[in-house]
Symmetry: C2
Subunit: 161 residues, 2 copies
């Protein structure tokens, strides 16, 4: 049955110790090896408007969603509620055209810089964070300035130029 | 023992069905009610430099980390590897002075706008995403322009002014 579906030939099965790779394209193993996923195989993806810097939304990806995002030019996520892939904008028209994708230092988050067409949020607001501020205590400016001065006086610890 | 530590008085235990609330301050229930957490009680927090828009890092919070972030003026996360709270900058000096915190439309992510002192990344780079781009396919400009035009011609769906 497997042999019929995947055209396994003699010898290949032995080399792969019984595991037959699916014929579909897969995420570059060099990237997959760097990823750290949660128990469900997912990691958060932050979508940011590439030119204004606005954080638009946070979605979730697995390896396949990342592969599609990297190769199709359209941001693609995994919907945890619907349990399916969704290409952002496929139903709303509010596409995210991918400009760059970066993996963070720990390999557990991606930053997807996009050109967002229309609102990113399903509520119609540009960003999913618009108008949803929580009350915060802000440290008063003199204390903040002191913290900055102390930092400036401290030798750089391997900071990039 | 509990009674000694938390000064439980007669009647209170009965009213709370045996559960004695800890005496420590808790996250505003109006905020806690809006949060959606993962199986471990956590949600991602995106830290963004408040003026440049740079996405600095993504950390994890639980209710208590969010409460501390909202009330102390210093971004505070839950370390999944060390299983403890960490106030960003407490050991490195690279503080994050909180400017605003927003909860997203689904209540499962927060955006923390900060004034980052020094590098945000433990590797010494300003952001945890610096210099970590993955190879992407970018849709060619004419197709992107077409997508924008189609969007502009479409009536707004409840977009905020």
């Amino acid at each position: 049955m497997l042999a019929q579906r995947y055209r396994v030939w003699p010898g290949r099965q032995a080399r792969h110790n019984g595991h037959v790779p699916a014929p579909s394209p897969q995420l570059d193993p060099a990237i997959a090896d760097r990823l750290k996923r949660d128990a469900a195989g997912l990691f958060p993806a932050v979508a940011q408007q590439y030119d204004t810097g606005e954080v638009l939304m946070v979605g979730w990806m697995d390896d396949e969603a990342l592969r599609r995002t990297l190769t199709t030019g359209r941001a693609t996520y995994w919907s945890r509620s619907r349990r399916e892939y969704w290409v952002k904008g496929d139903t709303s028209g509010n596409l995210q055209l991918v400009r760059s994708v970066s993996l963070d230092c720990d390999g557990d988050t991606v930053l997807v810089q996009v050109d967002q067409v229309g609102p990113a949020c399903h509520t119609g607001s540009r960003s999913c964070f618009d108008g949803r501020r929580l009350p915060v205590t802000v440290i008063d400016p003199p204390r903040a300035r002191d913290a900055r001065r102390a930092d400036a006086a401290e030798p750089a610890r391997g900071a990039q130029p």
